[in-house]
């Protein structure tokens, strides 16, 4: 697990060691964009931007899909995986809390029953 994280980090490090590529990720975090859009935004040639996107694509940080003549870039599945992992962690936290809350509810129900019996007596 640690090793896996490490390898991922190394690959990402290379991809992220470039200011333009970091900018592209930030940009795609806000909205999907075509390579042309990105080239314009970062004042680059189409070829130059294609290279940057290619590097990001290799690490899984970005995915691209060609629709007609336009290649659209978006943040990669890894991001979605991370979100799913985070939501699962959050679910586990609440699940653990609610298991404890079940016990409190059972205890209160038991007390109510005892109190109810006392009142009737």
């Amino acid at each position: 697990m640690v090793q896996y994280e490490r390898t991922r980090f190394d690959a990402s490090f290379a991809a992220l060691s470039d200011a333009t590529r970091r900018g592209v990720l930030e940009q795609l975090g806000r909205a999907d964009a075509s390579i042309t859009d990105l080239a314009d935004k970062f004042h680059m040639t189409l070829t130059g931007m294609k290279k940057h996107v290619g590097v990001l694509e290799q690490t899984g940080l970005v995915t691209t899909a060609k629709v007609g003549r336009v290649r659209t870039c978006r943040l990669g599945l890894r991001r979605l995986d991370e979100e799913a992992a985070w939501i699962e962690r959050y679910r586990q936290l609440w699940d653990a809390r609610f298991d404890e809350l079940d016990k409190v509810v059972e205890e209160l129900k038991r007390k109510e029953k005892v109190d109810g019996r006392k009142k009737r007596e």
């Binding site: 985070w86 962690r89 959050y90 609610f98 209160l108």
Partner: protein, 170 residues
């Protein structure tokens, strides 16, 4: 019924679900085997709240828990060992069906939490809805996705500055 219960000595555990409903909303649901007034009580009486809100798996201890459960009243939870605190204000208090409060420890980025308690046949469906001021605030709330990314960027920036300084201008 009774025969069935014998073959299943432990009652089925109720499922907790979490769903990101939109860019700004997170929804947690769970059913409890008790009436709404009891579940509501467990959320609003500090001595009960303390018994369940910090499960052992969190690795933290709730040092203090103050709750003034009325509209405009405040709450404050303090933890050990690192003195972390959660605090905010109750916006709506409708026993036993609805609670709304703010989460102010995170400054402007904190969500508004709404919990509803809906009773049906002696059971209570609890829905906890967290509405964040922005997508970025929700992303940042998890340690995943955008948050980790921003942190990684910051760390990389620092590292690159250090590397640049030690290697000299290239």
């Amino acid at each position: 019924m009774d025969a069935r219960r014998e073959s299943e000595p432990t009652p089925m555990k109720n499922r907790t679900t979490v769903e990101r409903k939109s860019e700004r909303e997170l929804v947690v649901t769970r059913t409890f085997n008790g009436p709404a007034r009891i579940v509501f009580e467990a959320w609003t009486r500090p001595e009960l709240f303390k018994q369940w809100w910090v499960p052992k798996s969190m690795g933290m201890v709730l040092r203090s828990c103050e709750m003034d459960v009325r509209v405009g009243g405040t709450y404050r939870l303090e933890f050990e060992p690192d003195a972390m605190a959660f605090f905010g204000t109750y916006l709506e208090v409708t026993p036993p069906s609805r609670l709304v409060w703010t989460n102010e420890e995170g400054g402007e980025g904190g969500p508004v939490t709404t919990v509803t308690f809906e009773e049906k046949a002696g059971k209570t469906l609890l829905v906890m809805h967290e509405l964040y001021p922005s997508k970025a605030a929700l992303d940042a709330a998890g340690t995943g996705a955008a948050d980790a990314m921003v942190e990684t960027f910051a760390q990389l920036d620092e590292l690159l500055v250090t590397l640049g300084a030690s290697v000299g201008r290239s």
